[in-house]
Subunit: 238 residues, 2 copies
DNA sequence: ACCTGAACACCGTTCAAGT
DNA sequence: ACCTGAACACCGTTCAAGT
């Protein structure tokens, strides 16, 4: 029996006392993504884990694309927006928001690559949108300037995290580490002098010079600097 | 005959006079991605277009993961780094570099989502890495500060473009536009006042409030602002 | 070296049928 | 409403064989 459920304990009548729910399906999908990566999430594997047939998960979760979107929603909802009081400084709020976004993505690093496709319109994102907009407006941004400041902020915060949490190269090309070292050492010194002079500080600590993703090797210091750069840069726009 | 090559013109002996090359395979893959999107690139479709059997493309292009990496390399190589003379200002160079990166990604918008996974170590990226490092060093960044300024810059420029060029939602959830309008209009006015007040300027022009990707609907103005914000923010770090 | 041809172990999805 | 069961049209990859 090929696609049948695992049928764990003997041949006892395997029957759910409670019907499968949409939330249960999404949670199981998220669990698989967290442990095995998004590329290993399969309707059929999901069905196996839930002890049902593949078509049953599709009944609750919809198509695979819809299911992935639902998983992203759950992660997105976990973003804990900083509170806004009457004497909140806009710079402090933006900084706290950036950290909150990164925290939420870091909690499910394998979801981040999917979320970039999901940064589209959805009522679910209205609290974040309204928060950023109102804070930037209170800073003095209006009309076109408000739109540009908003896009700068969102693109910066989310984009940076996407870059940090990109999938690891996998086995597609193995031997990065060796290739890196020999590549650097064999490159003519006069072609990459700055790279060579700072190779210890850069190795596995910088974009394009690391072989671990942000999950196992977070670039926290640089993110803190990046957020400060964003805020100071926005200040200069006023 | 299921998986056979298309055998286009009649039954004339279909024989390549020149053997298939690795470059030819990669170019064809890029062409398919450009027109149909990365999710529609298939070894078998690629084989069909090249008039060979699937295993032949694998012989030249390697596994699918390796093939995608090769496609990304081609696009990455198209980045035209701005020249550096002795009197180049670091701010001008960073700005020109950012535009060059975006131009290269915009030329193949469907590749951008793949490139985020490919922002890993590779000798091919050394010119860009060395360029950014040397320019930031000339600005006055040293050691840890240099690493952080570098990561801020790369994460900002590439990350922002990744966010801008994210895949369109597809048919996963259709009716974005309607959902958006009704969603906004039905949301209590006191919950999203700033969003409502600026809805005309924001609609389809801002992250999370657009239903078209960067390919068909570029956010160029905001990117220019974002780059200026980056540069001014970096200045403040010195 | 370069490619065919068949086979293997998977996919997501549809559709009819059960209860 | 919720799930089974079989089938369909695909995948990427391996492996043996041809030339």
């Amino acid at each position: 029996v090929r696609g049948a459920p695992k049928s764990g304990r003997a041949a006892t009548a395997r029957k759910r006392e409670v019907p499968l729910s949409r939330a249960e399906v999404i949670a199981a999908a998220l669990a698989i993504i967290d442990t095995d990566g998004a590329e290993n999430l399969t309707i059929r594997r999901l069905a196996d884990r839930l002890d049902v047939y593949p078509t049953a998960v599709q009944w609750h979760g919809g198509s695979k694309a819809q299911l992935l979107a639902s998983v992203c929603e759950v992660v997105f909802q976990d973003i804990e927006l900083p509170p806004m009081t009457s004497r909140t400084q806009w710079t402090a709020w933006i900084g706290a928001m950036a950290l909150a976004v990164r925290d939420a993505l870091m909690a499910h690093p394998n979801v981040a690559p999917l979320l970039s496709d999901q940064l589209q319109v959805s009522p679910m994102s209205f609290p974040l949108v309204e928060g950023v907009l109102s804070v930037l407006e209170s800073a003095g941004f209006r009309d076109e300037n408000l739109v540009n400041a908003y896009n700068t902020t969102i693109g910066f915060v989310f984009g940076w995290c996407f870059a940090e949490l990109a999938r690891e190269p996998g086995d597609a090309t193995t031997g990065w580490q060796d290739e890196f070292k020999t590549g650097i050492l064999h490159a003519p010194a006069d072609e990459v002098p700055t790279l060579r002079a700072n190779v210890d500080a850069l190795t596995n600590q910088a974009f394009m010079l690391r072989w671990q993703g942000g999950r196992d090797n977070p670039l926290t210091d640089s993110f803190v600097v990046a957020v400060r750069v964003l805020i100071n840069g926005l200040k200069a726009e006023l």
